[in-house]
């Protein structure tokens, strides 16, 4: 199967600092690719480049075989979902309002929306009676479930998640990790997830991409990274994660 998203020599500079430097990356269809690395390594920037919040200084990003262009970016956005750490829910809209926002904007048929919503609600185990609550009335975990539903509403081919579980406490986080894994599997979802937690990466990811200082350092499965590190940084990064012990 071909890659859904293909990055070729993509670079992005903020001021003097190179945030992303000559990155080549393939996001395979139906798989979960995890970007991992220390803070500031460029993993979030890569996500923002793919969804068009940033434009690359050089290089090329292809989505389903077509090169991304600023004037065509909305087409990609309608085919991709994006979840950020704090959920990114709009506080003036209810959970339902947030989830349906884009579908309503595109004037999707009402019954189609209703069906999709109840599907997603089941998938994310979100209680129906909470749908009319505002984000401020929901817990952190509930908010992330809503955010996930919003991202999945239009059945996107690509799901981008930027540390979606980063702000949650460990128990909620574990529950959501489990649910995410199930959801990805059920939907055979192509996902690109950013995290700094190796355990999470190992649990959710089919492919782990380790980044440092704007470059991809090594790509593969956890065992590839653990057993065949390509540099000292890889071993150090792997060893620094205490949760390695349980793996």
């Amino acid at each position: 199967m071909s890659a859904l998203v293909q990055l070729v020599g993509v670079s992005k500079t903020f001021g003097d600092a190179a945030a992303v430097h000559a990155v080549d990356l393939s996001v395979e269809r139906g798989k979960t690719t995890v970007l991992i690395g220390p803070s500031g390594c460029g993993k979030s920037t890569l996500l923002r480049l793919i969804i068009g919040l940033l434009g690359p200084d050089s290089g090329e990003i292809q989505f389903d075989g077509t090169q991304l262009r600023p004037d065509k970016i909305d087409i990609v956005r309608h085919r991709a979902g994006y979840v950020i750490q704090e959920g990114g829910l709009f506080p003036h809209l209810t959970a339902r309002g947030n989830i349906l926002l884009m579908a309503r904007h595109l004037h999707r048929p009402e019954n189609e929306m209703r069906a999709r919503l109840s599907e997603l609600r089941a998938l994310t185990r979100f209680p129906e009676n909470l749908l009319d609550r505002y984000p401020l009335e929901l817990s952190g975990g509930q908010r992330q479930r809503v955010s996930l539903m919003r991202a999945l509403m239009l059945s996107p081919e690509l799901l981008l998640l930027d540390e979606p579980l980063g702000a949650l406490d460990p128990l909620v986080r574990a529950a959501l990790q489990k649910d995410l894994k199930e959801i990805f599997a059920r939907l055979r979802q192509t996902a690109l997830l950013v995290t700094h937690d190796l355990a999470e990466a190992a649990y959710l990811g089919d492919e782990i991409v380790l980044m440092n200082e704007g470059r991809i350092v090594q790509q593969g499965s956890l065992s590839d990274l653990r057993d065949k590190p390509t540099s000292n940084f890889v071993s150090e990064f792997i060893n620094a994660q205490r949760s390695l012990a349980v793996l």
């Binding site: 990114g88 709009f90 506080p91 003036h92 926002l101 505002y134 984000p135």
Partner: protein, 520 residues
């Protein structure tokens, strides 16, 4: 007909205030110990300064030591100072003596005035010559073109626009009885600030205004005084009041000034004083040989404050209040609407930052720093504006702009980046992002700005009365000019109530317009 009289309580209050204030003023102005020199006092306006300086120079020329305490205040302060011996001499007007000092409502002749004052040990010179009372003035060219010479001539020209000071509009010897007496029925009569009125005469926004007959502006602006052919206006002949206790030679010198200053001369002296801001120099002109004389007719100088307010028109108070309030709301409301319609788009523009954003916020900020009165004065000479409701609304609109622009901009800029980007990443069009995400999220801040503007506008709209736009400022201005608390409160209390109502209205609007999710 409705009369507003001071109640007993008010009178007591005013007495107490005077009881406290007058001695305080006197102590402040009197310095330490009374020495030998003659002390001359003057009121706080040009003509009084000049007359004080003339008296001073005369006494000095006669070898008498003298001191001039300039601009001590109004009638009551000067009079009390004279009676208590803090000053020995000051210039006064016959009409003011009758009404305010002797508290008489009838007209007294000069002998009656002199004898009444004599009872309390105060002497009065014969009139100095000129009569400074109210007068109606027009631009010379306009008056000549229409062949207008007297107030009676105005009767045939109801199309002429009258711009009158608020004091004149409300005085018992002011506009209404005058109009009745002369049977004038002009189509347009507005209240306007005295100084702005001259500008309005010059640019043709108004045709006729009231003035003091010795006002320097009459010669400066090439105006003519319309003859008071019915002798409607009371006499305000200038005299010097002095203490009988003064030495005879001093009194003799003061009496030499009697009958030596006619209207034309006084206008000239006032003009010189206002031009040079040097009262001594202006007074010096008096001592130069007399030159030409004059086209001036009647004039007078009700330059001081009259304390009684009598409403002689047929309009009752509640009707008036309704008229003021409606106009006030009209001014504040329409200017606010404009501020909102222009301010929010500007705020949205400014929120995008960059040079334009700085320019917009900078402009709105600068407008806010211009004193409201100055802003009105700046707009009046502009062709489109002039003396009109338009000008008032434009000024209020400009004032209301900053809070709305700034709050809109900050409200939008305060939306967290994550939410902004989420909206973009969802693929919402920029219009949808603005209307469905950004504006609702900034609604609290935007409404806060609108509320601030509304309260500012309701307050500032009182100034609109200065340029004849009416509103609750009308009674406030009249009251200030007449030194009449009751009249001031007639405007001030409703204005304050209105501001509170506006405030609560917006608190209610908050609940309707700010999305529930933001109020949790």
């Amino acid at each position: 007909m409705r009369r507003i009289r001071k109640t007993g309580k008010q009178e007591t209050f005013i007495r107490i205030v005077l009881f406290i204030c007058v001695p305080a003023f006197l102590i402040f102005f009197s310095g330490s110990l009374r020495a030998a020199p003659v002390f001359i006092g003057s009121k706080k306006f040009t003509e009084s300064y000049v007359l004080g300086e003339i008296a001073k120079r005369s006494l000095i020329d006669a070898g008498i030591s003298v001191e001039h305490r300039q601009g001590m205040g109004g009638t009551i302060i000067l009079w009390e100072a004279l009676r208590s011996g803090q000053i020995d001499v000051y210039p006064e007007y016959t009409g003011t003596i009758t009404q305010e000092i002797l508290k008489r409502t009838d007209q007294l002749n000069f002998e009656q005035i002199a004898s009444e004052l004599g009872k309390v040990g105060i002497g009065v010179t014969e009139p100095l010559g000129f009569n400074n009372t109210y007068a109606l003035v027009m631009s010379r060219s306009r008056a000549e073109k229409l062949g207008l010479r007297t107030v009676s001539d105005l009767r045939n020209h109801p199309e002429l626009k009258f711009g009158l000071t608020h004091e004149f509009l409300d005085r018992q010897d002011g506009w209404r009885p005058l109009a009745q007496d002369y049977q004038l029925n002009p189509r347009s009569v507005i209240g306007i600030d005295h100084a702005l009125g001259y500008a309005a005469l010059t640019n043709g926004s108004i045709d006729v205004k009231d003035a003091y007959s010795t006002d320097a502006k009459i010669s400066e602006n090439d105006l003519v005084v319309l003859e008071d052919d019915h002798h409607f206006f009371p006499q305000y002949k200038a005299v010097l009041l002095f203490r009988y206790a003064l030495p005879a030679p001093t009194i003799t010198v003061l009496r030499k000034l009697e009958g030596t200053i006619d209207e034309a001369k006084m206008v000239r002296l006032n003009a010189e004083a206002e031009r040079t801001k040097n009262y001594t120099r202006a007074a010096g002109l008096y001592f130069e040989p007399a030159t030409t004389s004059t086209r001036l007719r009647q004039g007078y100088g009700a330059a001081s404050n009259a304390t009684s307010t009598t409403w002689t028109a047929g309009e009752n108070f509640s009707h008036k209040l309704a008229r003021w309030t409606l106009r006030h709301l009209e001014l504040a409301g329409s200017s606010l609407l404009l501020s909102v319609l222009v301010g929010i788009p500007l705020g949205i523009w400014a929120s995008r930052g960059g040079a334009t954003g700085h320019v917009i916020l900078g402009f709105a900020g600068v407008v806010q720093t211009i004193p409201s009165l100055a802003l009105l004065a700046l707009l009046v000479p502009l062709p489109f504006f002039g003396i009109s409701v338009r000008t008032a609304i434009a000024a209020l609109f400009l004032y209301g702009l900053l809070p709305i622009v700034r709050n809109t901009a900050t409200g939008l800029q305060d939306i967290p980046r994550g939410l902004r980007e989420s909206a973009i990443a969802l693929g919402l069009s920029s219009t949808a992002r603005l209307w469905q995400i950004h504006l609702p999220m900034a609604s609290r801040s935007i409404l806060g700005g609108i509320k601030t503007s509304a309260v500012i506008n309701v307050g500032t709209a009182t100034l609109a009365a200065l340029i004849g736009a009416g509103g609750l400022g009308e009674p406030i201005l009249s009251g200030l000019n007449l030194n009449d608390h009751a009249t001031i409160l007639q405007g001030a209390i409703p204005a304050a109530v209105l501001a509170l109502l506006v405030q609560s209205l917006f608190d209610l609007l908050d609940r309707v317009l700010i999305p529930k999710g933001l109020r949790l």
